[in-house]
């Protein structure tokens, strides 16, 4: 059934299929005339059976039969007996069609339809299924139908689970059986059926079971699929968790103007604000809904918690997001006040799967407001921000100059005490890690390496507060190996490799400080942050570790291999961003920027925007044709001057929402004079474009 090479048809086969087609055409013409004229005589119905016998894929014929059955059942002389007779006949027609092709969607669906009428014995169905599943144990149609039958006859999940086990013992290379097992276990766990009270008990047994398959034949994929599901079940926290925030717990936030004489505060937590408010950012481990003034309380002297509006930071405009932001107003006079934020004290924050946020977390920080002096820097409006190397110096040098840096851990918050449920998870993961290290010691196995890398990272993510952080070098080595071993999936491994690199960079104060630079040039008025995180020249193809980087206001990602900046919307404080010399191919790839309301300086020069006629990301991202952005796209705005905006709708959607002062776009195929003139019109506040001062 499986793994048989296709043979070229022999001449006599072709002749036979031509004869079949001839016969089919004749039948079909007659059939359509019956169908259109709604003729449901015995003869007409028989004809459709004949047609289906030759071609079980004929959906129209199945639908016709449904109509015919409905017609017969609606006759005044129809009673239960005649209905049963008619429906039993339908079952026979389906069975004979399935003998022709046991993977006919139409036939299986028709059978479901007939059985749902409730006149036929369902016990017979299991016998039929046994026959089909014996003929091909991987026939997913049969498995699908089996789930339907099992549910209809209230067969217990335990019995069905046993059935999957039997099938797996016959031949464990059976995706359908493993899949059904995962479905059944999910149901049993959800129901908390006897013997399936907790994952803690069930999953280790399943790991044990799947190991038998994986170790016996690591080349067989079906087992790995199930293992991945188990891993997901192990890692996935049932309830959402707040893992990071800005401002961080215990930090002192300084809201200032340009003068930075006050060396009592860390530049990491110094923020300029010209709107009289500053953001509070919550970062959850999974997308959540329901963050609002009723689920999150903010205690400060100046804002009423209930007045705060929490917004999801999500590119897709969905109501579920990992990152939520609100803006806290502060007075213009000099002031120091504490803020305490409590999350999850009352119910309402839920994950996409409906789990409640169940660990209440509190974090607090102090805010120091220094009134902004408006006079001194009026003239510097057009001062430009320069990304050049000479404008940065390593922050470490200054750190000797007694500038106190907050302990790194305070940059992000940790829920304390650590939820205890993850004990068994960590234990399960470390067992798996041991297991796969052993497998790899025996043989080279790509999927084994990938699994081990995933396990190590999952373990790393789980044991964040513990001292036993893993070294990332093992994972990096695994991904490097995989890039060599499996070049067809190079990009995926590279992305994963990047994420690990970023984790490594952000994992300690020392490693992060190596990437923190001080901007030495004079800073434009709108920007106040002396610290720039420079992750340039790392050949990054993907950005990550956002939960550790919520504080970043200046980010240099130039000279990397980024094709996307997915997730960057989490960095709500970002005001200067360089994406110079990357591999961005379209404006839709810049979609996350729309959510960065503080962004003032953007460098996207020397990318590939406009180079490719077909923007593949358009098919994946929101466009004016999809509903998510429909409201923002106003037809009236489609022409600016003589330029049809429709040609630049993607650029329009990004830049219209940004409040940029400085933009560098040269070195992209799209950046011609016509386009630049459009940009200037879209962004009236823009002061500099490609270094040129705008009038």
């Amino acid at each position: 059934m499986h793994g048989r090479p296709r043979k070229a048809p022999k001449p006599e086969d072709e002749a036979a299929s031509a004869a079949k087609a001839q016969k089919l055409r004749a039948l079909q013409t007659q059939f359509f005339s019956y169908h259109h004229n709604k003729i449901y005589t015995k003869e007409a119905v028989e004809l459709s059976a004949k047609l289906l016998d030759i071609n079980p894929e004929s959906y129209t014929a199945w639908n016709y039969r449904k109509l015919a059955v409905e017609h017969c059942l609606s006759q005044p002389d129809s009673d239960a007996d005649s209905a049963k007779f008619i429906l039993d006949h339908e079952l026979r027609v389906v069975e004979s069609a399935l003998r022709q092709n046991f993977k006919s969607y139409g036939a299986w669906h028709h059978r479901k339809w007939v059985i749902s009428k409730g006149h036929s014995s369902i016990d017979n169905e299991l016998r039929l299924l046994d026959k089909f599943q014996k003929a091909d144990s991987r026939n997913f149609h049969a498995w699908n139908y089996r789930r339907f039958v099992a549910e209809s006859m209230n067969r217990s999940e335990q019995d069905e689970l046993k059935y999957t086990e039997d099938m797996i013992y016959t031949n464990f290379s059976n995706y359908s059986a493993w899949h059904n097992r995962s479905v059944l276990l999910s149901t049993l766990l959800e129901k908390k059926a006897e013997g399936f009270l907790s994952k803690e008990k069930v999953l280790p047994e399943e790991y044990e079971f799947i190991h038998q398959a994986i170790f016996t034949d690591p080349d067989d994929q079906s087992g790995w699929f199930y293992h991945l599901w188990l891993l997901d079940q192990t890692v996935k926290a049932d309830s959402p968790l707040l893992i990071s925030s800005w401002p961080a717990h215990g930090s002192d936030v300084q809201l200032v103007d340009r003068c930075h004489n006050n060396s009592a505060f860390s530049p990491f937590t110094t923020l300029h604000s010209d709107s009289g408010s500053f953001p509070i950012v919550l970062y959850f481990n999974q997308p959540v809904e329901g963050v609002s003034s009723s689920t999150v309380t903010v205690e400060s002297g100046f804002n009423k918690s209930e007045d705060l509006v929490w917004e999801p930071v999500s590119v897709s405009n969905s109501q579920a997001a990992k990152v939520w932001v609100t803006h806290l107003k502060f007075p213009t006079s000099e002031l120091h006040f504490p803020v305490e934020v409590s999350v999850g004290h009352s119910k309402g924050i839920t994950s996409a799967r409906g789990s409640q946020y169940s660990f209440s977390s509190v974090f607090s920080f102090k805010v120091h407001v220094q009134p902004i002096k408006k006079d001194s820097s009026q003239g510097s409006v057009a001062e430009s921000f320069l990304w050049g190397e000479e404008n940065f110096k390593v922050y470490g040098i200054q750190s000797e100059e007694s500038i106190p840096i907050l302990s790194f851990d305070q940059l992000s918050i940790r829920n304390d005490p650590e939820p205890t449920v993850s004990d068994w998870r960590a234990e399960a993961l470390s067992k798996e890690i041991e297991c796969f290290r052993e497998l790899l010691s025996l043989m080279d196995c790509k999927i084994g390496k990938l699994t081990l890398a995933r396990l190590l990272m999952a373990y790393d993510a789980m044991s964040f507060s513990c001292a036993n952080k893993l070294s990332h070098s093992e994972v990096l080595e695994l991904y490097s190996d995989l890039m060599k071993l499996d070049p067809s999936h190079y990009q995926y491994y590279k992305d994963e490799h990047n994420l690990v690199v970023l984790k490594q960079v952000t994992s300690s104060r020392e490693s992060l400080l190596k990437h923190c630079f001080q901007y030495t040039n004079s800073v434009p008025l709108t920007i106040y942050s002396p610290i720039c995180l420079r992750l340039n020249n790392l050949s990054l193809s993907r950005m990550g570790a956002f939960e550790e980087l919520l504080w970043v206001q200046m980010l240099d990602l130039s000279h990397n291999e980024l094709q996307s900046i997915e997730g960057l919307e989490a960095m709500q404080l970002l005001s200067c961003l360089s994406l110079r010399n990357n591999k961005l191919r379209s404006f839709t790839a810049l979609d996350p920027l729309r959510k960065l309301k503080s962004l003032r300086v953007l460098d996207i020069s020397y990318n590939h925007i406009g180079e490719h006629f077909i923007d593949t990301t358009r098919y994946l991202c929101a466009s004016p044709l999809s509903h998510s952005v429909g409201s923002e796209w106003n037809k009236d705005e489609t022409v600016i001057g003589d330029v049809a905006l429709i040609n630049y709708w993607d650029a329009f959607l990004i830049f219209k929402e940004l409040n940029l002062k400085q933009l560098d776009i040269l070195g992209n195929a799209i950046a011609d004079e016509k386009f630049k003139s459009v940009l200037v019109k879209i962004m009236p506040a823009l002061k500099r474009l490609d270094g040129e001062l705008l009038g």
């Binding site: 013992y169 464990f172 038998q212 034949d217």
Partner: protein
């Protein structure tokens, strides 16, 4: 003998080939010769088909073995020895079985069912689904007369009576509870290596040097642990001798042959979709196989006469060439070629100077070490050695039962669903190679004592070759003491099944030869028929060098049958 009907006369009296004895090699040659349009007369002095390959009832079994346990001169030829045209040489039989020891611990129970048994004389034997005998059955059409069932499992046994499942397939490795994860991985990878090598897969190649080195060295080189080595060597490639002790090993397996055996085994799994594993067994016993070939031969025109002893060989007076045989009926039948059962010998008259043109021909194969015999044992029980399982194979590797055990011992349990015994009974076949009778007996007793409760032998009837004259009546004599002692112990002692009946015997090994006359080989010590079939094909080609052995037919006769056998599940 006297109450037998008078021998019918045979007509015609001249054939291309006369075959005496209906053992498997004789039956195959007869069928092949008929298929090649030869006229064949197939005779057997016994009233049943199969000779040394037959399956017999509990009453026929002792009498056959007894009759074959001593040398005897043929009864004098009914006619004068001096014929005007021929030299007449009388056949005699040679002893092929020794140390025959049959014990009936439950005569009352067994005798009422005696006819319901089909006891294999040459047990234990099975088929690998992909072995040569299956191919031959399909090719010859003999398969249509046979029906098979799967052997459920293979085990490796130890001296404690434990049976360890042999993980012989992907599914079995997956399911096995005794192997560690690493061992599963190693074993499966080794299977794949062998399959990949034989399939000529890219990058999978066993080096020429490895192929010619001992298989056990290759297994060591692949880092396989001792347990897995045992599985592969003794339960899958079925070697007889300890492979790592050069002093005692007489069948050192080369890697080349080892992987061939392994591949044969692997190919057997899944060859027939409704077979559970690699091994199958014929319903009604192994004797069916000889019969199937005889039926095949009969369809092709072979003439069969059973219960027909042959007394003498007729040779040309002038040149000493073979002319024909004289039957017990006194009739002389002539043929160009003759094949005889290994029981028969022709003692040449002393000082004979007959020219023997056939003697120039080489023996079929180099004679095996003639010191080696096969120790065979059969037991009947009322309980399976393994609950919930009725048909299975157990292998005891060398030294697994006692330190001096040099060869592996194989045990096959067959239950009533294969129609070899009455319901709820089981027949156990044991065999091992041995150097002499004492060693053979020791082997058989050690297996039986490990797995079975054997009632005190004082109560049993002991038949040795010496007592053979009285054996037939003796074994059916009811011994009241034995009966009552059995009833007292009918419930298994120490949880082991009790032996109701047992037969132990040592069988000579002959490899068959083409000399003065052609004789066929005795059953060998192997579990499958591959070697015997090779010898048989050779024999056929010796006598008919220009004929094809079962040529592929284009007739409709078995054309619809593209290689399936009748397998009951």
């Amino acid at each position: 003998m006297s109450d037998l009907p008078p021998y019918p006369p045979i007509d015609p009296t001249t054939f291309d080939l006369i075959v005496i004895g209906t053992g498997l090699p004789e039956s195959i040659v007869a069928a092949a010769a008929c298929t090649a349009s030869k006229s064949v007369l197939h005779l057997d002095p016994n009233p049943f088909y199969g000779s040394h390959f037959s399956s017999l009832s509990l009453t026929d079994f002792p009498s056959f073995l007894t009759s074959q346990s001593h040398a005897s001169a043929s009864s004098p030829s009914p006619h004068s020895n001096t014929h005007h045209d021929f030299t007449v040489l009388d056949f005699s039989t040679r002893p092929l079985y020794s140390s025959l020891d049959i014990s009936n611990f439950s005569p009352h129970l067994l005798n009422q069912h005696a006819r319901k048994f089909n006891i294999d004389v040459a047990g234990p034997r099975v088929f690998y689904c992909a072995d040569k005998s299956i191919d031959l059955m399909l090719k010859s059409g003999a398969s249509q007369y046979l029906e098979f069932k799967s052997i459920d499992a293979t085990f490796l046994g130890d001296d404690k009576g434990n049976l360890l499942t042999v993980p012989d397939s992907r599914a079995a490795i997956f399911k096995d509870k005794s192997l560690g994860l690493m061992e599963k991985n190693q074993l499966m990878r080794f299977f794949k290596l062998v399959q990949g090598h034989l399939a000529g897969e890219e990058g999978v190649k066993i080096s020429e040097e490895d192929l010619h080195s001992p298989f056990v060295d290759f297994l060591n080189k692949m880092g396989l642990p001792p347990k897995i080595k045992s599985f592969i060597l003794f339960a899958i490639t079925m070697v007889d001798y300890h492979q790592e002790d050069v002093g005692v090993c007489r069948d050192l397996l080369k890697t080349k042959d080892g992987i061939y055996q392994l591949a044969l085994y692997n190919a057997s799994i899944g060859r027939f979709s409704n077979a559970l594993g690699a091994l199958i067994y014929p319903v009604y016993g192994q004797g069916e196989l000889s019969q199937a070939f005889c039926r095949r031969a009969a369809v092709k025109g072979c003439l069969y006469v059973l219960r027909m002893p042959v007394t003498s060989l007729l040779l040309d007076k002038d040149n000493g060439c073979y002319k024909g045989v004289r039957l017990a009926s006194g009739q002389d039948i002539f043929s160009k070629k003759l094949i005889i059962d290994p029981s028969f010998t022709v003692p040449l008259p002393v000082g004979s100077s007959l020219p023997h043109p056939l003697q120039e021909k080489l023996p079929l194969s180099s004679l095996k070490d003639d010191r080696v015999k096969v120790a065979r044992g059969i037991c009947i029980t009322k309980a399976s050695l393994k609950p919930d399982m009725s048909n299975f194979l157990v292998v005891y590797p060398p030294r697994s039962l006692f330190p001096e055990q040099v060869t592996s011992i194989r045990l096959l349990q067959i239950g009533s669903n294969l129609a070899v015994c009455p319901p709820d009974m089981f027949v156990l076949y044991i065999s091992a190679l041995c150097d002499d009778d004492d060693q053979g007996k020791k082997i058989l007793h050690s297996v039986m004592n490990t797995l079975l409760t054997v009632p005190d032998s004082i109560d049993s009837e002991s038949n040795s070759a010496v007592q053979s004259e009285t054996a037939e009546s003796g074994s059916v004599l009811q011994n009241e003491n034995a009966e009552s002692s059995f009833t007292a112990q009918s419930n298994t002692r120490e949880g082991k099944p009790t032996s109701l009946w047992s037969a132990l015997y040592m069988q000579e090994l002959t490899s068959g030869q083409v000399e003065f006359i052609c004789s066929t080989p005795m059953p060998d010590g192997k579990l499958i028929y591959n070697d015997l079939i090779d010898l048989t094909v050779k024999l056929f080609h010796e006598i008919y060098p220009d004929e094809e052995f079962f040529p592929k037919t284009s007739t409709s006769e078995n054309s619809g049958d593209d290689g399936d056998i009748s397998l009951e599940t």
